[in-house]
């Protein structure tokens, strides 16, 4: 009888403990923390660890090499070029997407039927897979069978080579990515714009402000937090560009579109299967992305404070 009482009281105290908000919070967070640990933190630490080894994908002939892989990176021209290409892509893609998304959101913020339809149309590419879009664009822009070069040729232009031209390939990939993803930025911006109090615009109009002035002096300052979020997520995404390049140019012509992730992949997952060196390049990329993300976040927070 006494035992039963003890057991019931233990059960009660267990539930009471976890029923407290400060303890329950951990339980609610547990699934996310487990997923993050398994698929983010542990692989990240694993990658960092592998960076210090000369190790192949078969895990044979493993040797601890210290900082050698990192030193090798700075004399590997192809690896350094891949970082520059990634940065070039980011500079093309992120500002274009954020600007286009913001302008489209501002233009389509009113809830008319046409605006709602246009927003849906702009969002359609977002739900398509990037691989499928890459294949479609490869066909559309192919100088031999593509419609776009064909029509340009019909208008008297010389057939552009798009993905096969060293100068046009990266801008073409960036354009394709913007076309696919700007619906997301537009939606986030739209939510931010719609949350702005109409009274601000009414007062501005009474004071004689033009639409352009309203956009730059009311809309933009009000959506700075969302803008910061979009810039940061796009920046991180662009620095990790892979799928669209893999499908369209595979890093060519002459490695001119080879991104950092593409290079890491080719080093680690094709001959000579250098997993250790690929991990060290991945670690360097991680540091670069972290620095860029933190600085952009700090800049945006600073701007946000200035606007208040």
């Amino acid at each position: 009888m006494e035992t039963l009482d003890t057991s019931t009281s233990k059960k009660r105290s267990f539930f009471q403990f976890w029923n407290q908000p400060k303890h329950a919070a951990y339980l609610f967070m547990a699934p996310s923390i487990i997923v993050l640990l398994l698929f983010m933190v542990i692989p990240l630490l694993g990658t960092l660890g592998l960076s210090f080894f000369n190790i192949n994908i078969f895990f044979t002939n493993t040797k601890f090499v210290g900082w050698d892989n990192f030193v090798r990176f700075f004399s590997d021209q192809r690896a350094i070029n891949s970082m520059w290409h990634t940065l070039y892509f980011t500079l093309l893609e992120t500002p274009t997407q954020v600007i286009l998304g913001t302008v489209a959101a501002a233009a389509l913020s009113q809830g008319s039927l046409f605006n709602r339809f246009t927003r849906s149309v702009f969002y359609v590419p977002v739900i398509c897979s990037l691989t499928s879009i890459g294949i479609i664009f490869s066909m559309l822009l192919d100088p031999n069978i593509g419609w776009i070069p064909y029509f340009l040729h019909q208008f008297g232009m010389s057939t552009p080579q798009f993905f096969r031209d060293a100068h046009l390939a990266m801008p073409s990939i960036a354009f394709m990515t913007v076309w696919k993803n700007f619906g997301v930025t537009m939606t986030i911006m739209l939510t931010a714009i719609q949350a702005i109090s109409p009274s601000l615009y009414e007062s501005a109009e009474m004071d004689g402000a033009t639409k352009r002035q309203q956009f730059f002096h009311i809309t933009i300052p009000q959506i700075i937090p969302s803008l910061g979020f979009c810039v940061m997520t796009n920046l991180i995404g662009s620095m990790q560009v892979f799928d669209q390049i893999y499908v369209t140019t595979a890093g060519g012509p002459e490695f001119k579109t080879e991104s950092a992730v593409q290079y890491i992949y080719s080093r680690g997952f094709s001959a000579p299967y250098e997993l250790g060196y690929a991990s060290s390049v991945a670690t360097i990329l991680f540091i670069i992305i972290a620095v860029l993300a933190v600085s952009s976040n700090m800049y945006m927070s600073h701007k946000e404070k200035q606007m208040k």
């Binding site: 539930f15 976890w18 029923n19 329950a24 339980l27 609610f28 547990a30 699934p31 487990i34 997923v35 398994l38 192949n56 994908i57 078969f58 895990f59 044979t60 002939n61 090798r72 192919d142 100088p143 031999n144 069978i145 080579q161 096969r164 031209d165 060293a166 595979a250 060519g252 012509p253 002459e254 490695f255 080719s266 997952f269 094709s270 001959a271 000579p272 299967y273």
Partner: protein, 427 residues
């Protein structure tokens, strides 16, 4: 009261989700090794995704239905790209298939990492006639004197020509180019037809074509001890100049085109001359292209130089020894005269079994007999060298691209030679 219920419900749900998540992560899917105590199921990966895959499926189906060794082959066909990406990780994770069919150029890197079993004893199995295999075909699977692979297919690079385009360009549709000079002259005439017609296509990843050209011109990729690059030579420069003149200067074909894109152009009937393996035959037939196939062009008329390549069966070290007999049973079935003939005739491949080569139907088939002619004098290219695959992907293919895009051939050659030395040193 209500709030307390939902709080408890939420707690229980979160705990369940966490538990399910953990248990899912620990779940190990059990790969089927046997469907019954009598039948041994063996898994088989390969990259025959084209019409050749259908023929292969047919042979596997026949084997599963008729074999008396109680073996069932479970086949997974994927693109060669996917195959080469999945297999290394599968081997490391001990999830590799029981046996594979793999290109010879890729084998040595697996062997050097100790991930493939020696299977020389296959030739001692009851019912296997070792002497029926040509010595060169058997030699393809040998690395450092040990047999790691048994032939499944042998192949080379052949010249395909579009007879209709030859006729349109005023060329004899029954006389394909026999030398590289003739090929360039014919290609130039065809490229003048306009309307997006290409005289000759050299893919930017066309290392197999380049290696044949280099060998034919007397250029070498590696030194005799295979420890240094031997690419920097007058013969290499001559080869690079030849390609650059044709594609970059004369514009007889497109620049920056991949092998897959080049195949599509040929299959669409807009290429005059193309060099490729036997796998293009089925697509050309399907598309009703009026084409011919001949032995590889040569530097001098009458020369007989070509590279022998192929696909072989191999067993990863992760495969349990108890399955070896079952795998040998299938490989033995594959290498019967009946199946060798079927594969050669339907897939248009040169035979490597003497009994198949002697068959009257094989001799009567103009395409297969032409290919067989080349296979007889073709030689392997740096067999067993573990660096070839790396050199091809990271040095030769990018160099082809540079040459076709107009980079000074001397600079491209010297840079490639230096890069090969880097690969050989392990950088």
């Amino acid at each position: 009261m209500k709030s307390s219920f939902w709080k408890k419900f939420g707690l229980a749900a979160a705990a369940t989700l966490a538990a399910v998540g953990l248990s899912a992560c620990g779940n190990k899917s059990n790969s089927s090794s046997s469907s019954s105590s009598k039948t041994t199921t063996i898994t088989f990966w390969n990259g025959f995704t084209s019409t050749d895959g259908d023929i292969l499926k047919g042979i596997v189906k026949d084997y599963n239905a008729t074999n008396k060794d109680h073996v069932k082959v479970k086949m997974d066909i994927m693109t060669w790209d996917n195959f080469n990406q999945k297999l290394p990780t599968a081997i490391t994770a001990k999830k590799a298939p029981d046996f594979v069919a793999m290109n010879y150029a890729d084998m040595s890197s697996y062997v050097s990492n100790g991930t493939m079993k020696t299977i020389g004893d296959f030739y001692n199995q009851k019912g296997v006639n070792k002497n029926d295999f040509t010595t060169t075909a058997r030699g393809l699977g040998k690395i450092d004197g040990k047999t790691y692979f048994v032939p499944m297919q042998v192949q080379g690079m052949y010249v395909y020509w579009n007879k209709d385009l030859f006729k349109k360009a005023g060329l004899d549709p029954n006389t394909p180019p026999a030398t590289w000079d003739e090929l360039a002259a014919d290609a130039e005439k065809i490229s003048k037809l306009g309307d997006n017609v290409q005289g000759f296509v050299m893919p930017k990843d066309g290392s197999a074509i380049l290696y044949n050209m280099l060998q034919d011109n007397g250029a070498k990729l590696l030194s005799s001890n295979e420890k240094k690059s031997a690419l920097d030579s007058a013969a290499t420069k001559k080869t690079f100049d030849y390609l650059q003149k044709m594609i970059y200067t004369d514009g007889v074909g497109p620049k920056n085109i991949s092998g897959a894109e080049a195949d599509n152009l040929m299959l669409a009937g807009s290429v005059g001359i193309y060099i490729n393996g036997p796998w293009l035959n089925s697509g050309l037939k399907k598309n009703n292209i009026n084409y011919g196939i001949t032995t590889l062009a040569q530097a001098n008329k009458g020369d007989q130089k070509a590279i022998l390549d192929g696909v072989g069966f191999g067993i990863p070290t992760s495969t349990d020894d108890s399955k070896t007999k079952a795998i040998y049973s299938f490989i033995k079935y594959w290498n019967t005269t009946k199946n060798g003939k079927k594969w050669s005739l339907e897939n248009k491949c040169a035979p490597y079994l003497k009994s198949v080569a002697a068959d009257k139907d094989i001799k009567a088939d103009p395409l297969v007999s032409t290919m067989y002619k080349q296979i007889q004098y073709a030689k392997t290219y740096y067999p067993g060298n573990k660096n070839i695959s790396n050199i091809t992907t990271n040095v030769i293919n990018p160099t082809i691209e540079k040459v076709l895009n107009g980079t000074n051939t001397n600079t491209a050659m010297k840079s490639a030679s230096k890069d090969i030395d880097g690969v050989l040193k392990g950088n």
